[in-house]
Amino acid sequence: MPPLLEIDNLYTQFFTSAGTVRAVDGISYVVEEGETVAIVGESGCGKSVSALSILRLIPDPPGRIVEGSIRFMGRELLQLSDEEIRHVRGREIAMVFQEPMTSLNPVLTIGRQLTETLTHHLDMDDDAARARALELLDLVGISDPDRRLGQYPHHLSGGMRQRVMIAMALCCEPKLIIADEPTTALDVTIQAQILELMKELTRNMGVALIIITHNLGVVARYADRVNVMYAGKIIERGTALDIYHSPAHPYTLALLRSVPRMDQPRKEKLDPVEGQPPDLTTLDEGCPFRPRCRYVVDRCAEENPLLEPVSEGHLSACWEKDRLRGPLKEAS
């Protein structure tokens, strides 16, 4: 059986006056049915653009998917007409955005926004849609759903709005939910509530989840498999355990070392990743991480390493990956 979602060699670029921004620069990954896949990286690494590309939500101009293929349940999404892709959005693949403040329409009631999807995609009549909306609000843990349906987004707190977003995503029982930084704008206690809710719902309903985040802790708690992105490329992939216990890319290793951890004794000093992420308009043929890398060798400037296996299901794009294996243990 083919995987639920298969992204192959995807390139998304933005054509700006400052040059071509290679936001997504040849990434490939698969999502199996019901699994949670995380995409981790810092701002500007292309993680959100890669997600928006799946639903063809890249603003054109200036952006364009230049090359690649995105197959969802055997269908090539990049070949679909605008009308056809609209049936996929929200119906088969749903999205939860980062900013619950700005991604809900401020002039429409919660009820209207929830039922719109239902009447549009599932041809429900108003009463049926309303009943289903009530059920969904209850499912995502919103108290007094009857009253909430008549309220506007500004009546709700950030956490509540994100619950409404999740309810909207679940409306049509999609096969896949893409959550782009779903908890970044929320407080830690609310973050824990929302993540727990998403985990429970996706597990019970068998929905696959792509979770995009910069928070390494969130990934450790919730993801089955992890893709680490840097400068538009996936530079490491593996199970959460692989990534956290034996990182095989210097960037992953540096990221893990730079965050203070609450479960470990306090260190004198943090070990930061020096320098800045690269400018995506001026990438050369070498490895984009090399100016910040501690393991750099001559070859890094000449050739960008491909994503290659270091062990079963664990891949890294680094010439020196074998030198790196397991140094976290060594250090601690």
């Binding site: 928070n215 450790a220 990221l255």
Partner: protein, 343 residues
């Protein structure tokens, strides 16, 4: 109103047990913002109790962490110390002087000694000014370095100190990344040779790999210039790394205050315990073993806070009395203060 001589006689039960010299003393600070209604005749209909009776000390050379969720009043507390807000009630002593009722001229002198680093490096630097002018302006205003040449020299020195190329003085903020801008914010705070810096979420807008750079810089500067920080943040792991003591705020009140290690190893207040358990740890093995306790509900409105203990509607340990009696902020162990009757 009390004057300077009554500093040592503050009657409230507050953490007075200090070994070193106290630089900042906050006593029963309240900041209530009125909500008005009416177009022509405005009348006050309610108050947002942003800060509602907060007391703490900061010793010279110490970093005190102030943590809590958004809306708990941590930023307002910082703004009151700077006197960007005039507190509704309470006293704030900085180096023995009550900040709460200073006049305009005295405030200018005060703000040389207290500086602030803001959360958002994009909105806290004037986009029309060059970096050199942003850092140099306070020195000019306060007549610390009236000579233009000497001031430029000092700007370059400060940039260098904060890990930036001195040539950045001729650039504009938009030419710099978030991490670099935050370094400019730090350089500006240092320009006044301040003793006390209020860091209001200085790293939360930055990327993970950049956060550690800025945290290390703050630590280095603290050692080099014997600075005292009030570190306001919501990221509990960063606070643990940087602070000597930590105060946890909830809905305008401090619910727990202790030495950093004590607070993280032995949290007593149920809110602190839930807050700590909500922080995910970047290790799947540790996460799998951890008990995940989720706080129910959301933070109530500070306009109409719950009666008794403000945390009781969400508290897993709440008993009948919690909704009636305001718990006393008491010292349960030397240096460990908590506001909960069930501890």
């Amino acid at each position: 109103m009390s004057d300077q001589t009554t500093v040592t006689e503050s009657p409230e039960a507050v953490p007075d047990r200090v070994s070193g010299e106290v630089l900042v003393q906050v006593r029963n600070l309240k900041m209530h913002f009125p909500i008005t209604s009416g177009v022509l005749i405005q009348r006050e209909v309610a108050h947002v109790r942003a800060v509602d009776g907060v007391s703490f000390d900061i010793r010279r050379g110490e970093t005190l962490g102030l943590v809590g969720e958004s809306g708990c009043g941590k930023t307002t507390t910082g703004r009151c110390i700077l006197r960007l807000e005039r507190p509704t009630a309470g006293e704030i002593y900085f180096d023995g002087v009550n900040v709460a009722n200073l006049g305009k001229r005295e405030l200018i002198a005060l703000r040389q000694k207290i500086q602030v680093i803001f959360q958002d490096p994009y909105s806290s630097l004037n986009p029309r000014m060059k970096i050199g002018d942003i850092i140099g302006e306070p020195m000019h205003v306060h007549k610390i370095e009236p000579d233009r040449k000497a001031r430029d020299e000092r700007v370059r020195e400060l940039l260098n100190l904060c890990g930036l190329d001195p040539r950045f003085a001729d650039r504009y903020p938009h030419e710099m990344s978030g991490g670099q801008r935050q370094r400019v914010g730090i350089a500006r705070a240092l320009a006044m040779k301040a003793e006390f810096i209020i860091c209001d979420e200085p790293v939360s807008a930055l990327d993970v790999s950049i956060q550690a750079q800025v945290i290390n810089l703050l630590e280095d500067l603290r050692e080099e210039f014997h600075l005292t920080y009030l570190f306001i943040a919501h990221d509990l792991s960063v606070v643990r790394h940087l602070c000597h003591r930590v105060a946890v705020m909830y809905l305008g009140k401090i619910v727990e205050l202790a030495d950093c290690d004590e607070l993280y190893d032995n949290p007593l207040h149920p809110y602190t315990q839930l807050l700590l358990s909500a922080v995910p740890i970047p290790d799947p093995e540790v996460e799998a073993k951890r008990e995940h306790r989720i706080v129910k509900g959301e933070v109530p409105s500070p306009i109409n806070p719950p009666s008794g203990c403000v945390f009781h509607p969400r508290c897993p340990m709440a008993v009948d009395g919690c909704s009636k009696n305001v718990p006393e902020f008491r010292e349960v162990k030397p240096g460990h203060w908590v506001a909960c009757t069930e501890v």
